[in-house]
């Protein structure tokens, strides 16, 4: 059975209560897509551009520039597909994090992405490319873009999870190649000042989830308190407080014994009475009949 240990301090929660917000229905129709496209300098004219729609997304594109709305979340992505994450073979980004952050703030303001007062810088990332000839092993490496990530802050509390984020992508010339905005519109306060669970209660849930017949040691390396927003393709009705535990999994048996072999996370609702399930229900593992034969059911060759 895996053992469980705590290697971090529990997050300091200023008050033992927090509000829960109702989220507005995502605006993911064609009209709002065109509005967004215009903010990024596209004409938004159906005669000039092309529109594509499926169950998950609506996409409007003009040439290499594309704006996408995710229906479930209302998240918006703008990319110049000819330049976003694309290596031209020579470029190298040389500016530092502070310069990149200043540029990113300007782009966020210029394109009315979010109010800067409602977010803080989370991380500066870089897209690295490398090539090498296998025979000589001579390596050439460059950095081709810098991405500045912002996280949302609500009532002075940061938003955890994959959502509540803006990422600004900038190339070596300091030009914008893309912006992602996963930022659900908060509506009215649904429940004001609800009592919160203790972080220890959430840890107990995590222990229950990870307890089983296997081996290893699960360590809570970090625990954070914040509001929680899901990813691009998840419908969410409430912005609620949550604890997010960062877990490190160490092998205690076998050839990897003594080494960290994986990381994971646990998401737990912080409100005593949570209005909406936070972590998606784990998909059930379908039982498989035991394999007995080496033969494939299909041995067709390409």
């Amino acid at each position: 059975m895996p053992t469980f240990e705590l290697m971090t301090k529990w997050p300091r929660v200023k008050c033992e209560r927090a509000s829960i917000y109702q989220l507005a229905s995502p605006r993911a129709d064609r009209k709002s897509l065109v509005e967004v496209a215009r903010r990024f300098g596209l004409s938004g004219d159906r005669k000039t551009g092309s529109l594509y729609e499926d169950a998950r997304l609506t996409t409007y594109s003009e040439g290499s520039r594309e704006v996408v709305i995710h229906h479930a979340s209302g998240g918006v992505r703008f990319h110049d597909k000819a330049r976003w994450q694309v290596d031209d073979g020579v470029s190298h980004v040389e500016f530092d994090d502070a310069t990149a952050t200043r540029m990113a703030r300007r782009f966020v303001e210029a394109h009315e992405v979010v109010a800067l007062s409602e977010c803080k810088v989370l991380r500066v990332t870089r897209l690295n490319v490398g090539t090498a000839e296998v025979r000589t092993r001579r390596v050439q490496e460059r950095v081709i873009d810098v991405g500045v990530a912002f996280t949302r802050v609500v009532d002075g509390i940061p938003v955890e999870g994959p959502g509540g984020k803006v990422m600004v992508y900038i190339d070596h010339k300091g030009e914008l190649t893309g912006i992602d905005r996963l930022w659900r519109s908060a509506g009215k306060v649904r429940m004001k000042s609800v009592p919160l669970r203790s972080p220890e209660a959430v840890q107990e849930e995590a222990v229950r989830q990870w307890t089983g017949p296997g081996s290893g040691r699960v360590t809570v390396e970090d625990a954070r308190f914040g509001y929680f927003e899901h990813g691009w393709d998840v419908s969410q009705r409430y912005l609620q407080p949550a604890y997010v535990l960062s877990l490190a999994i160490m092998a205690t048996e076998g050839h990897s014994a003594g080494r960290l072999v994986a990381r994971s996370e646990f998401w737990g609702a912080a409100a005593e009475k949570s209005p909406e399930r936070l972590a998606p229900r784990k998909s059930k593992i379908e039982p498989q009949a035991s394999r007995r034969s080496y033969r494939s059911r299909d041995t067709t060759s390409a």
Binding site: P213, H255, A262, Q288, R291, T299
Partner: protein, 250 residues
């Protein structure tokens, strides 16, 4: 349409000390999420083997007693989710391995593991190999990437994985579904992997850093595959892996 095969391991056997590994909670979610997305666009599921049905021999080339040509290399897109690791040398060379719960390899090879020196990825049909595991690249040192993958890639177009420790959690299933759907709607495969795999929510931790490694007969071909290759490139073979081109976000 591409032929898809997935293998995943969530549960290991602690009583077999040589093969023991901590259980993983989300490997099935990751691999089956990807498969679900690919099937939704009409791609063919050839196999889906999980836990004790996932065998190391499915990845080892027959030259090393394996059966890869009937399994991992008998599909265009092979996806593995489970434990993986670098950090070791095999016959003097840096190697990578993926872990399995049961013994399905020759007794003189490491038990319950398939190791990269026994791979000839793409020798038959494999074009893309996603390894949803730790340490496909132990770190970002280019010479190590070449040492491990220069000899293992024998026709495969792209290998997708993670640098050092990767993170799987409650949101992983949606990320891998997103990856599958994005490549099915024509996104370049490497970009889609980096885009959906990069996990950066915790500022105090190293992010989960995806890496895509492309092969090419020439430098330009390797770069073109890294930047532009989509599922539509299925039939454009890599004649020889003379060059590698990789990209990662961190």
């Amino acid at each position: 349409m591409a032929r898809i095969g997935i293998e995943w391991v969530t549960t290991h056997h602690p009583d077999d000390r040589e093969c023991a590994n901590p259980d993983l909670q989300y490997s099935d979610d990751a691999a089956e999420g990807f498969l679900l997305a690919m099937r939704s666009y009409g791609h063919d599921q050839i196999f889906n083997w999980g836990n004790d049905n996932a065998w190391s021999s499915d990845f080892d080339h027959p030259d090393f007693g394996g059966d890869s040509l009937r399994w991992s290399d008998n599909v265009h897109f092979c996806y593995f989710a489970g434990h993986g690791g670098g950090h070791f040398k095999f016959e003097g060379k840096l190697a990578y391995n993926i872990g399995f719960p049961t013994r399905h390899n020759q007794p003189d090879f490491p038990a319950c593991r398939s190791i990269s020196p026994q791979w000839k990825l793409g020798a038959k049909q494999m074009k893309w190999f996603a390894i949803d595991s730790c340490q496909v690249a132990e770190d970002t040192v280019g010479s190590k990437i070449i040492e491990v993958w220069g000899s293992a890639m024998r026709g495969v177009h792209l290998v997708l994985g993670f640098i050092d420790l990767q993170r799987q959690g409650p949101g992983t299933r949606n990320r891998r579904i997103g990856f599958g759907l994005d490549i099915c709607r024509g996104w370049p495969i490497a970009n889609a992997w980096l885009d959906t795999g990069f996990g950066w929510e915790n500022p105090k931790e190293e992010p989960s850093r995806p890496i895509a490694i492309a092969a090419g007969f020439t430098r330009d071909e390797a770069i073109a595959r890294r930047e532009n290759e989509t599922l539509g490139w299925l039939w454009y073979n890599v004649q020889a892996t003379n060059w590698l081109a990789w990209k990662w976000r961190g």
